[in-house]
C-alpha cells in the first residue's frame, strides 16, 4: 500500500471534469466504506450548493443549517445506495438536499398552517443572491434561464427555488394545471439543451 494513501490530500489531486463528477463518484464509493477523509472531501466539495439551495428554498438561516446537516448525514449514511449508473454524485446529493428542503416546507406548512410566502417577505432572496460569489454556474444558469419564455422561467424558479408544487405554481401564475406541467417540462428541455446536459 502506498503510504500517501492514508493522506487526505490523495483526494485533491485526482483529475476532475465539470464539477469533478467522476471524482465525486469515486469519493462516494469510499464514503460508503466509512472513509472519513473521503467524507470530508465530499463535504468540502458540496456543502456550498447544498446549503445554498436549502437556504434559497427555506430562507431561514438556522432552519437551513439544520436541514443541510441532515442532508449531509444522509449522504454519509446511505452512500452505499448511490449508484453511479443512475446519475452523477452531485446530482444524487442535490436531489436529496432539495427534497429535504421541500419536505421541511410541506411539513411546516401542514403543522402551522403558515404560508411559506411569509418567509419570502422577511428575507428577500436578493440578499442571499448578492452574498453569493459570482460563479461560472451562476452565469451559465442565468444565461440559460434568460433564454426561456417568461412563463417557463417563472414556473421553474417558483417550483425549484420557491419550493412550490406545480399546483401552487398554476395558482400563482393563474394558468391551468395542464399548461403548467407542459411549461415546466418544455422549459427544462430548453435548459437541458442550453446547459449541455447529456
Amino acid at each position: 500500500m502506498n503510504p500517501s494513501d492514508s493522506d487526505a490530500s490523495r483526494f485533491r489531486s485526482a483529475p476532475t471534469d465539470r464539477r469533478g463528477e467522476r471524482d465525486l463518484d469515486d469519493l462516494l464509493v469510499h464514503v460508503a466504506r466509512g472513509d472519513q477523509e473521503a467524507f470530508e472531501a465530499v463535504y468540502d466539495r458540496l456543502v456550498g450548493p447544498v446549503y445554498g439551495v436549502i437556504r434559497r428554498v427555506l430562507r431561514d438561516p438556522s432552519q437551513s443549517e439544520e436541514v443541510a446537516q441532515e442532508v449531509l448525514l444522509e449522504v454519509w449514511r446511505t452512500a452505499a445506495r448511490f449508484d453511479p449508473a443512475m446519475g452523477g454524485a452531485a446530482t444524487w446529493v442535490m436531489t436529496i438536499a432539495h427534497r429535504r428542503a421541500i419536505d421541511r416546507i410541506r411539513s411546516t406548512t401542514a403543522a402551522t398552517g403558515r404560508e411559506h410566502k411569509i418567509a419570502e417577505v422577511e428575507t428577500p432572496h436578493d440578499e442571499v443572491a448578492e452574498a453569493v460569489e459570482a460563479s461560472l454556474d451562476r452565469e451559465r444558469v442565468r444565461r440559460c434561464l434568460a433564454g426561456l419564455t417568461d412563463i417557463q422561467r417563472e414556473s421553474i424558479t417558483l417550483a425549484y427555488y420557491g419550493g412550490h408544487s406545480y399546483r401552487q405554481v398554476a395558482g400563482l401564475l393563474n394558468v391551468t394545471l395542464g399548461a403548467i406541467k407542459t411549461r415546466i417540462r418544455d422549459g427544462l428541455i430548453r435548459m437541458r439543451d442550453c446547459l449541455g446536459v447529456s
Binding site: 463535504y43 449514511r77 453511479p84 442535490m94 432539495h98
Partner: protein
C-alpha cells in the same frame, strides 16, 4: 388511456423539481416511471438541470457546520449496500451454458441477451420484477463502454469468470466447475482492498456446475476479488482462506 399516459409523461418536469405533491398522482407517476425508461431518462436529465440550479445558489454555510457534521457522522451507522438476490427458481430447468459465450471476444449486445435468466422461472410478480431488475442491472454492466473480461481458476478447482466495469464500480461474476458445497455452506465474494475487506455478495447455488451471473457493486480502485467458503448465510468478514484472490485492473 393514451391520453392518460401522455398526461403522466408530461409530469416528468414537475417530478424532477420535486413539485409533485405526495398522494395518488405521485403514486401513479412513480409507478409509471418504473415502467417507462424514456421517462426515467428524461427525469435524469432534468435532475442534472436542477443540479445546475442548485450550484448557481452555492453559499458558504456557517463555518461551525463542518465540525458539527463530521462529528455527528462518527455516531451514525452506515447502511450496507443492497444485496441483490436472484429470483429463486422453483422448478428444474435446463441451463443454457452461457460462460462459453464469454470466452471469445466480448460482443456486449450478445452477452446482454445471454444474461436473461430467471424470467421464465419466476412464479410471482415480485419474483419476476426482481429477476427483471437484476437482469437490467447486469445488462448495464455488460454494455458499459469499458468492460474487461477476466477468467481465473480457483485453488479449489473450477473457473471464475468476471466481467469488470471499473467505471461503474461494479462487476459480474459467474463460475463453472466449483466443488459442490455441503449443506450450510456458501460461496461468498469479497472486495479485498488495502484498507478493508467488504462482502461483495454470495454466489447463487450452482446448476449443472455453473452459477448464474451475480452482480457486485461498490468496487474501488485497488480492490482484489476474493472468494471464500463461509457458513450460511455468509459472514461479515472472511473466515477461511480465499480460493480465489484476483487482482482487478483499473
Amino acid at each position: 388511456m393514451r391520453l392518460l399516459r401522455h398526461d403522466l409523461h408530461s409530469l416528468t418536469g414537475a417530478y424532477a423539481l420535486d413539485a409533485l405533491e405526495g398522494g395518488a398522482e405521485f403514486e401513479r407517476f412513480t409507478r409509471h416511471l418504473s415502467r417507462c425508461p424514456s421517462c426515467a431518462s428524461e427525469v435524469r436529465g432534468f435532475r442534472e438541470v436542477a443540479t445546475s440550479l442548485a450550484f448557481a445558489t452555492a453559499t458558504d454555510p456557517p463555518p461551525e457546520l463542518r465540525a458539527q457534521v463530521l462529528t455527528a457522522a462518527t455516531g451514525v451507522r452506515q447502511l450496507p449496500p443492497e444485496v441483490k438476490t436472484h429470483a429463486q427458481p422453483r422448478r428444474a430447468r435446463v441451463w443454457v451454458p452461457w460462460v462459453p459465450w464469454l470466452s471469445g471476444a466480448i460482443a456486449t449486445a450478445g452477452i446482454a441477451v445471454a444474461v436473461v435468466f430467471g424470467l421464465a422461472q419466476a412464479h410471482t410478480q415480485q419474483e419476476l420484477n426482481q429477476a427483471r431488475a437484476q437482469n437490467q442491472a447486469i445488462a448495464l454492466v455488460l454494455s458499459a463502454p469499458q468492460v474487461k473480461l477476466l477468467t481465473h481458476t480457483t485453488t479449489a478447482g473450477g473457473v471464475a469468470t468476471v466481467v469488470l466495469a471499473a467505471d461503474l464500480h461494479k462487476l459480474v461474476v459467474t463460475t463453472s466447475g466449483l466443488p459442490a458445497l455441503p449443506a450450510g455452506k456458501v460461496y461468498q465474494l469479497w472486495f479485498i482492498g488495502p484498507k478493508n475487506i467488504v462482502s461483495a455478495g454470495l454466489l447463487p447455488s450452482a446448476t449443472s456446475g455453473q452459477t448464474a451471473p451475480v452482480l457486485a457493486s461498490g468496487l474501488v480502485h485497488g480492490d482484489k476479488l476474493g472468494l471464500t467458503v463461509e457458513p450460511a448465510p455468509g459472514s461479515t468478514q472472511p473466515t477461511t482462506t480465499p480460493i480465489l484472490d484476483l487482482a482487478l485492473p483499473a
